[in-house]
Amino acid sequence: MTETAPQPTTAAANPPVQPIGSNLLPSDVVRISATKDVPQPDRQLTKVAKLIDVSKCIGCKACQSACIEWNDTKPEVETNVGVYENPHDLTPNMFTLMRFSEWVNPETDNLEWLIRKDGCMHCEDPGCLKACPAPGAIVQYSNGIVDFIHENCIGCGYCVTGCPFDIPRISKVDHKSYKCTLCSDRVAVGQGPACAKACPTQAIVFGTKEDMIAHANDRIEDLKSRGYDNAGIYDPQGVGGTHVIYVLHHADKPQIYDGLPENPRISPVVEGWKGVTKTAGLAVMGVAAVGAAIHGLFARANRVDEHEEQAAERLVQADAPATAPHDRGDV
C-alpha cells in the first residue's frame, strides 16, 4: 500500500488489482462545518464533476441499484402508487432517485417524458455546510466533493434547512443525515462514482469538471442540431457552480424537470441566520451579560432602609383600614 491512487478522470476505468492508498485525505479538506479558518491544503486536487445527460437517460434505475449496492443501504420496500419513482422520495437509504415528469411541449404538442436523476449537487458554496452547527459534520474537499462525516452529525436537520435542493434526509434509526457522497470513498482510490459506472447509456459520466463541461458542450451542440434549441448545461452559478451538472434539453425551463430550481442559491434567510444573527446575537448577549455583571458589582444597590421598615410597621399597625391616598412623604 505504498502507492496512492491517481485522481480519477473517468468512471469507466476498472479498479487496480493491487491494494492502493487513499488519495482523498483529511488534509484535502477546504471547508469544515462550524469551523472558522480551516488551514488551506498544500495541494489542490483537480476539480471533479459528475455529468448527468438527461437527454440520454432511459430511466432504467441502474444508477439507483448501483448506489444501493455500493453504499450498502437498504431502502424500504414501498407500495406501488402508480408512478415510476421508486422509492417515492430520497430517503436516508436512497441517495439518488430517478424523478419522472410527463410534460407536454407547447410548441410541438408532444408528450415528453423527462427523467432526472436527483441527488446531491455538490455545490461549490454548500448551504448544508453553512447551516450545520456541528463542527466537522460536513466537509468539502478541494476536488469539490461535499461529504457528511457521520460521527460528528447530531441529526438536527439544519442541513435540510440550508440546502437549496432539498437533498439531505435524517435517519429515524441513527438520527444522522444522509445524502450522496459522490462516492468519495471510490474517488479516493481512483474510481468514479458507482452510478456513473453502472449507467448503460453513459447518461452519467464522471471526470474533471473541465472535461465534463467540454463533454456537455459537445452534447449540447448535438442536441441543438436535432432541434433542441434551448438545450444547455445546468451548473447553477448562484451556488458557485456544482460538481454534479446536468445537460437539459430544455435548459431554459429547469422547473419542468420535477422542480429543478431555476436560480438556486443559499436562501437569504439562511444567510441572515448564519450571518448577522449569529454574530451580532452573540455579541449583544455577551455585552449584556458582562455589562450586567460589572454594573451589579460596582453600582449602588437599591436597598431598603430602616425608616422604611419602621414605616411599614406603622402602616400595618394603624387601626383604621388603610386609606388609599396616604401621604407618601411621611417617612
Binding site: 462550524a34 469551523t35 472558522k36 452547527p133 456541528a134 463542527p135 460528528n152 447530531i154 441529526g155 438536527c156 436537520g157 439544519y158 435540510v160 434547512t161 440546502c163 432539498d166 435524517i170 438520527h175 436562501s267 434567510v269 439562511v270 441572515g272 441566520w273 444573527t277 449569529k278 446575537g281 452573540l282 449583544v284 448577549m285 449584556a288 451579560a289 450586567a292 454594573h295 451589579g296 453600582a299 449602588r300 444597590a301 437599591n302 436597598r303 431598603v304 432602609d305 430602616e306 422604611e308 421598615e309 419602621q310 414605616a311 411599614a312 410597621e313 402602616l315 400595618v316 399597625q317 394603624a318 387601626d319 383600614p321 388603610a322 388609599a324 396616604h326 407618601r328 412623604g329 417617612v331
Partner: protein, 228 residues
C-alpha cells in the same frame, strides 16, 4: 369577598414586629424554579447549537446528539411550567395607570428615588414587562421550535417556512436571553427581592418601598377580618 385589586388572595402579612409579608406560596416558588431551571438548560443547549464557539457546551449534556434531542423536550417542559405560572400571575400583571408614570420616571427608578414614584401594587411596570416579554417570547419559541423539531415534526412545514422559523427562533432566543439577564439583574440589584422566591417572604420595608399599594391592601385586609 371580592378579588383584591393589588394582591393575590394568598398574599398576607405574616408577622408584625418586624413586618414580614408572604409574597409567593410554595407552589409558585417551585413552579418558578422549575421554569428557571428549564430556561437555563435551554439557554446552554441552545447556545451550543447557535454559535460554533459555544458548541463545547454540548459536553454538559453528553454530546451533540443528546443536546439535539434534549433541547426541545426541555422546551416543552418550560412551556407547560410557564403556562402554569402564567395563569397564576397574569391578572396582577395587567397594565395600570401608574405604570405610565413609572416608565416616564424611569430615571428615578434607576437612581433609586422611589419616593418620587407613585405607589405601586404587587408589580411595577418593569416586572410587568418581564412577564409579558417572557410570555410572548415563549409562545414564539415553542411554535417555531416545533416547526424545526426534526425528530418528530420533520415534515410539518415546508423548507422555506422552516428557514423563517429557525431565524425567528434564534432571534427570539437572543431576545429572551436579554430579558432573562434583565430579570436576574433586577432581582439582585433590588436588594431583598430574592428571598421572595426562596423563603417566599419579603420584609415590610421592602414592601413599603417598592409595592406600597400592595402592602396597604394586605394591611387593610388584615384589619377587616380573616385573610383567608
Amino acid at each position: 369577598m371580592p378579588r383584591p385589586l393589588y394582591s393575590e388572595p394568598g398574599d398576607r402579612i405574616e408577622s408584625v414586629r418586624p413586618v414580614t409579608v408572604s409574597r409567593y406560596r410554595g407552589f409558585i416558588r417551585g413552579n418558578h424554579w422549575l421554569t428557571a431551571l428549564s430556561l437555563i438548560l435551554l439557554l446552554l443547549s441552545g447556545l451550543a447549537l447557535f454559535h460554533p464557539s459555544l458548541y463545547f457546551l454540548t459536553g454538559l449534556f453528553g454530546g451533540g446528539q443528546t443536546t439535539r434531542w434534549i433541547h426541545p423536550i426541555i422546551g416543552v417542559v418550560l412551556f407547560f411550567s410557564f403556562l402554569l405560572m402564567f395563569v397564576q400571575l397574569w391578572r396582577l400583571n395587567l397594565p395600570r395607570p401608574e405604570d405610565t408614570t413609572w416608565v416616564a420616571q424611569i430615571g428615578d427608578v434607576v437612581a433609586g428615588h422611589e419616593e418620587k414614584l407613585p405607589e405601586l401594587g404587587k408589580y411595577n411596570a418593569g416586572q410587568k414587562f418581564i412577564f409579558w416579554a417572557m410570555s410572548i417570547l415563549i409562545v414564539v419559541l415553542i411554535v417555531t421550535g416545533v416547526m424545526i423539531w426534526e425528530q418528530f415534526f420533520g415534515g410539518l412545514v415546508t423548507i422555506p417556512t422552516r428557514r423563517i422559523a429557525v431565524l425567528v427562533h434564534s432571534l427570539a432566543a437572543v431576545a429572551i436571553i436579554l430579558v432573562f439577564i434583565l430579570h436576574v439583574y433586577a432581582a439582585i440589584w433590588t436588594r431583598g427581592t430574592l428571598r421572595a422566591m426562596t423563603r417566599g417572604t419579603v420584609t415590610g420595608g421592602w414592601a413599603y418601598r417598592h409595592h406600597r399599594k400592595w402592602l396597604r391592601e394586605l394591611a387593610g385586609r388584615r384589619q377587616n377580618g380573616p385573610a383567608e
